[in-house]
Structures are given as C-alpha cells and as structure tokens.
Amino acid sequence: MSGPASRATRGAPLVLVVPAALAVLLLAVPLAGIVTRAPWGDLGERLASPRVTQALSLSLLVSGWALLLSLVLGVPLAWLLARSRIPGKALVRSLILLPMVLPPTVAGVALLQGFGRAGLVGDELRLLGITLPFTTAGAVVAATFISMPFLVITLEGALTGLDVQFEEAAATMGAGTLQTLRYVTLPMVLPSLLAGAALTWARALGEFGATLTFAGNLPGVTQTLPLQVYLLMQEDPEGATAVSLLLLAIAAAVLFGLRGRWLGAFARRR
C-alpha cells in the first residue's frame, strides 16, 4: 500500500509540480500580505475599538442566527432529500446549489425583489408585521440564504453514503422514523453534521454582497465585519487590514477545527 504511493511522490513530474506550486502561491501570497501588512503595533487597540467590537458582536449574532435557522430548516430538508421519495428532488437540489454559485450581490437583488417592502411577498410580510430590508433580521435572512446550502449539501452527502441497514435494523426493532433519525441516523452522521455546521457558520460570518444589497449598511444594525472592512478600505486601509486579519484568523480556526473531523470521516470510510 505504501510502496506505490511513495514511488509516485518521488517521481512527481515537473509538469505537474510547477502549476501546483503556482496554485499554492496564488492562494498563499494574498493571505501572507494581510498577515505581514497588518498593523501589529496597535492591533489590539484597533480591534478593541467600539466600532470594531460593535461590528464583531453583530457579526456573531447574525451568523449565529443564520446557523440556527440553517439547522432547524436544513437538517429536515437534507433528510428528505436523502431518504424520501418526494417528486422534484433534482429540482430542489439544484435550487439549494444555486446560492453557492450565484454572485452574492445577485442574491441580494433577488432577496429585495422577493422579500423587500415592494417585493413579491412584501405585502404579505407587512401584514405579518415583518420588515426585512434595513433590519438585523434581514441580515440574518441574507446570511441564511447564502450559507444554508453548505449544511444541506454536506449532510445530504453523509446521509446518502450511510449504510441503510442500521436504520432498517432500528425499524425492525420497532423504532419510528423520527426515533430512528434521532437515535441512529443523526449520531452516525454527527461528524459530517458538525463539519457542515462549521462551514455554514463561517460562510454566514463572511457574507458581504447579499447583506449590503438586501439589508443595507448601518452600524449596530446591519454593518457586519465584512461590510466594515469594505468601508474601512475607503478611508483607513490599515484598519481594514486589521479587521481582515481578524476574519482570516476566524476562518483559519474553523478549518483547523474541521481538519480532524474530515480526516476522521475519510479514515472511517476507507
């Protein structure tokens, strides 16, 4: 098993190594730029300023709600897609993939035309007393729209890959569908669920375009960290770099936390 693998590594041809190295540089250099150009001297001071802490706590609030909504709505959806025989599954799956490949500003335009005051269901929402544009709730909806697919797709993949004999065994012992889901299925896909949740949360934390277009920009209400980076870049590039470093550190921490889960999942699969 290790013989052919190590031979392949030793004989890696240049024609593959060069583009691969360029790919790594393409990704690494900009991030190294943030790390080296960040104003390390007064970094603590900058990140502790009221403006940044306000945007940070709003970002945590918005991304936390987006994750919660994604779990509450996305876990049932993933289960239905993987286990049920509802018609139009392919269509629903494409619909879920769409926000992942759509430019977020387009998502923002779509959200305005759908859920805005003058949008498709604007009047209905107003009757329910719900206004989304320019509100924190609107920022949560934008972040959920963009990030929920990560949870649904990850979880659906795990559920599809799961051997159904465990669930069938539970059923033969008299467990209902919901009991099986709660005590058999979900514990077995827990690593994937956690990985999907982490990706979802990180994507919600980084949401920019849909939030700016749909929810607007107001400190303390809709101005999350990425929006603040964008505005800071116009008058205080050093400040923007400092906040970018914070977001980069959070993203790196999420990936670091995920690493173990992913390796674990792959190892078990083999």
Binding site: R117, A118, F134, T160, G161, L199, F208, G216, N217, Q234
Partner: protein, 269 residues
Amino acid sequence: MTAPRARRRPAALRLLLSALLVLPLAACGSGGGSGPGDADGAGAGADGGDTALTVLAAASLTDVLEEAKPLYESERGVELRLSFAGSQELAAQVREGVPADVLVTADSTSMDGVADRTEGPVVIAENELTIVTAPGNPEDVTGLADLAREDLTVVLAAPEVPVGRYGQQILDEAGVRVNPASQETNVRSVLTKVTLGEADVGIVYATDAASAGDRVATVTIPAAQNVLAEYPAAALSEAPNPVEAAAFVSWLRSDRAVELLETAGFRVP
C-alpha cells in the same frame, strides 16, 4: 446500481465546499476593471483608433459621462473606459495604484487625499443635494425637517462617501436629527432604494434625481440650507496615457461638455 456513485459524491463535494469557503475572503478587494494588457498595447499603437483611456469617475457622473462617451470617442478617436464608484473608493483605488488615466471625484476632500498622485485638479462641475421620495410624494415630505419623522424609512449615504458627508452637514446645520435605516455605500444605491420602494425618502444629488425622471418625486432643499458639491477632475501622475489624459480633462471644460453637464442638472463654474 447507485451505491458506488453515492459513495463517491461526498468526497467530491467536500473538495468543492472547501474551495468555496475561501471565496468570500477573496471577494473583499474589488478591482478597477481595466485591462492593463490593453493599455500597454495602446501605448505602442500610436494615435489610431485603438488608444484607450481609463477614467475613474464618481457614481453621480454615470449618466453624463456615458452620454459623453460616444461623442468623445468619435471626436478624438480614443476608446473611453469608464469606471464608476464612490469617490472615496476611487481615491482608495488610486492609492493602491490602479492603472487609470483620469480621476473625477464628487468632492475636493477625496481629490486632496491623492494630491501626490494627480496633476493639478480643476473643478469641472458643481452639484446640489435634493430630497427624493416615491412618485407623487405619498408621504407629504415638504423639507429637511420631515426626515426626522419616525414613520418614514430614511436612507442616507454613509458618512465615508461625499454625498453622505454633505447630507449630514446640511442636516446638522438645519438642526434635524435623523435615524437612517441604512447608510448606503454610494449615492446610486440611495436612489435605487427609493425607486424600488424600499425606502420612503433619501438625500441624493440633484443630478441623480434628474436621471431617475418620474420614478421619483423631488423636494427641493432651499439654497440657504443646501451645499454645493465641487467635482474636481485631474490626470493621474502614473497615467499609462498622459497626453490623452490631459486632453480629456481639458475637454471636460469645453462647450460641448458644459452643455452635457448642464443638461444633466449640474452647474458649471
């Protein structure tokens, strides 16, 4: 029959997901949208029709410069590439060394901020602020004082961009305290939020209101309360095409350009 496929899919998806996760980080820096390769080619191509000039202009100049573009291109035989954004954003792009020839901002502060990278700015136009509402002014907005009303959704521009700074200045001087629903990142977004019906009222340039035609109603701000925004234009010191850059800046003060500017609602000093 589907079992092998189903087993492969999660692994492929994981790779896709990890790639997508990095995208938002990369999305934060916006480019100027000009092709440096083409600009180089233009330098070699002498004064044929293949010369290109990149102009960074304040968002409020969108309509008038789009209208001027075909006129100038046929008159001068160069290709105009127009890039519109908030003035502060443009100034930030210039500080980052964007390959462009001319900068036109909607305030002197943004232009002064890049004084070491421009060649003697000249004021080519002036603009006033005005209040815009939905067509027919359904909320009966009569002046600045109405912007303090709790029942109205007011959208202003962010204090980081000139129109936001001017707007705050006139509201302060009028003693009106406004709780805006949003501080948009440029004046066109303010106008859009009003034309879409998402906001009841906003403050924009007179020229933006004019460009929206009957999609908005305007409520004039009296001259005593208003400010006059200056639009300085300058060739950039690092312009790939310095001769054409200077020619365009002086053209902006020609009779033809003045006529276009005045039709669009600008004042010309």
